[in-house]
């Protein structure tokens, strides 16, 4: 009895699985994780890579090679869209950061007590609602017969309603709006951990707003800024709904090209190559962001 008890306690205490029945338990715990990661993540992506290396040379005949990637380089439309998507995503990320930072500062440092938690929850609320609904709201606000053009006419700013949808700026507004939460939350938690007395000390030592921001606030908040930026960039790059609905027919977004190849043209090999390029770009930027700010992937994901 005492023996059994001890073996139980050591097993839970040390948490390791040495005895044969513990090996079985480990295997049972590993099975779902492996099933998920191999079946839905690793193998499908390996398959996607293989698929992207097959080029269609004639109906039902394929050749192994980089043909699909060559098409990407040879066809200006494709790589223009790719570059455009990347540049606009970077731009959207910067805008999101600049807009979110003062708001996060207010919530973390100036608001107190109930007001503080109320403001924080108010930041979260719009994001409990589907992105489709939020985009619908922007469409009703901005289209030619919509709320904002009418308001401009009534205020006498424009003579007749102007079309505010279907511009690159519209896409940018939509992307910034959609990403806001993912920037505000990490920024608030990073700024909250900054001790007020550091700012007071800097002020007493003659620092002004700008130098305090540059030398104390930003270095301290860097992990939060990096975490927010990485997630916003990744989500923007992979967004489909906002560019297609707010940008209309003339907008080009790389996820749209992937959709066209896969679903409309049924050219899966080309679509797989595009998908892989997007994945590489996304991973590269995330990795770069981590290296530049000297952070660990796991910490960043847990923080956000």
């Amino acid at each position: 009895m005492a023996d059994r008890l001890r073996s139980r306690t050591t097993a839970t205490l040390a948490g390791d699985f040495v005895a044969p029945h513990m090996r079985l338990a480990l295997f049972l715990l590993l099975a779902p994780a492996l099933l998920w990661l191999l079946g839905l993540i690793v193998l499908p992506h390996v398959d996607l890579a293989v698929l992207s290396l097959r080029t269609r040379v004639a109906p039902r005949t394929y050749e192994l090679g980089f043909g699909n990637y060559r098409t990407f380089i040879d066809e200006p439309l494709y790589w223009h869209t790719f570059v455009r998507t990347a540049v606009m995503s970077i731009f959207a990320t910067v805008c999101t950061l600049l807009i979110a930072f003062p708001a996060a500062w207010y919530i973390a440092k100036i608001a107190r007590g109930r007001a503080k938690s109320l403001l924080f929850v108010m930041c979260l609320i719009p994001f409990w609602v589907s992105e489709t609904v939020r985009t619908l709201g922007w469409m009703i606000l901005l289209r030619e017969s919509g709320v904002l053009p009418r308001l401009l006419v009534e205020l006498g700013i424009t003579a007749k309603p102007v079309e505010l949808l279907y511009h690159d700026t519209t896409i940018l507004v939509g992307l910034v709006y959609t990403s806001m939460l993912f920037m505000v939350v990490p920024l608030v938690s990073a700024l909250e951990s900054l001790d007020d007395s550091l700012i007071e000390a800097a002020y007493d030592l003659g620092g002004n707003g700008l130098s305090i921001l540059r030398q104390i606030v930003i270095p301290h908040a860097a992990p939060g800024i990096a975490a927010g930026s990485i997630i916003v960039f990744m989500l923007t790059l992979g967004n489909y709904l906002t560019p297609t609905l707010l940008g209309g027919k003339n907008s080009l977004w790389f996820t749209e090209q992937i959709y066209t190849q896969f679903i409309t043209r049924f050219n899966w090999e080309q679509g797989a190559a595009f998908g892989f390029l997007l994945l590489v770009l996304s991973t590269a930027i995330v990795w770069l962001g981590l290296v530049v700010t000297g952070q660990k992937f796991g910490d960043v994901m847990r923080r956000s």
Partner: protein, 290 residues
């Protein structure tokens, strides 16, 4: 700067003005959607023509309200069914993963825990196409070599469930593992010393401790599944979930019935959110937000 430092009146006003404008920016699109669900016009645009409930309950005069629009109601039901499956699978797999990460020791655990976070940095569209391509290959293989047709590997709801599950389970794992980490292991030892069986310890000590995280992870999984668009778009078959249905209609043109269904969604998700935030363990939930 911070309140303890001298601030001019101007900078104080500028602060409040900025925060006010920020929240207007956040809420205006939602308010507009809600308001035009009640406008008595065939198009969701100003001017205001009077209050009506036609877009919810109407069934005549060319106005089919939300509750009379059979395809729309069906798509809400489809989304709910998918979300239930994703929630159940995510909680089950997430809990198993949490125990694996917090309790087990084995080689390659760090690598495995990194891999578990990977789905969160893969764009949703790519998760969708890779699962679509892989499932089709498996189906083709089964057809060619075994001569059987496996329906659930073709685009359709089972693949949608798998696609959404593939990344939502990462979030469930993080939430549940964070809670498990805070578990005081001496409680378990005390129970064993007092003669409790493994099953008793699990049911009376472990499960109550994990419950807030399980509920929180479940609610987040349900919401994320309900709102998912990117992954679903690539895997959907003939039964469209709500987001796909709304997207299709938004491309065709505007109708206030879309505002009505949006308002319905807003109210439902607000209620779910408030129910969660009222719980004492709110810290778990807000931390687990993506």
């Amino acid at each position: 700067m911070i309140p303890s430092l001298p601030r001019s009146l101007v900078s104080r006003c500028a602060n409040i003005g900025y925060v006010g404008a920020f929240f207007v920016f956040l809420f205006v699109p939602l308010v507009v959607v809600a308001v035009f669900a009640f406008n008595d016009a065939n198009y969701p645009a100003p001017p205001w023509r009077g209050f009506t409930l036609n877009w919810f309950v109407g069934s005549s005069g060319g106005r089919i309200g939300l509750f009379g629009d059979a395809p729309l109601v069906k798509s809400v039901a489809t989304s709910a069914i998918v979300a239930c499956w994703v929630t159940a699978l995510s909680i089950a797999f997430g809990a198993a993963n949490a125990f694996l990460l917090e309790r087990a020791r084995f080689r390659g655990k760090t690598a495995l825990s990194m891999l578990m976070l990977a789905p969160l940095v893969i764009p949703g569209v790519i998760l969708g196409i890779s699962i679509l391509a892989f499932a089709s290959r498996l189906a083709q293989f089964a057809n060619d070599f075994l001569g059987i047709e496996i329906d659930f590997l073709r685009p359709g709801l089972p693949l949608v469930v798998l696609g959404q599950f593939s990344y939502i389970v990462s979030i469930a794992t993080l939430t549940i593992a964070a809670r498990l980490k805070r578990f005081d292991i001496t409680l378990e030892e005390a129970a064993f010393n007092l003669g409790a069986s493994r099953r008793d310890v699990f049911l009376t000590i472990m499960l109550p401790h994990l419950k807030p995280a399980l509920v929180g992870a479940g609610a987040i999984a349900f919401l994320m599944s309900f709102e998912n668009f990117n992954t679903t778009l690539m895997l959907v078959g003939s039964d469209a979930p709500l987001t796909i249905m709304m997207y299709g209609r938004m491309r065709e043109g505007a109708s206030p019935v879309l505002n009505a269904v949006s308002l319905f969604l807003m109210v439902a998700s607000m209620l779910l959110a408030l129910a969660l935030l009222r719980r004492p363990e709110r810290a778990d939930v807000s931390r687990a937000l993506p």
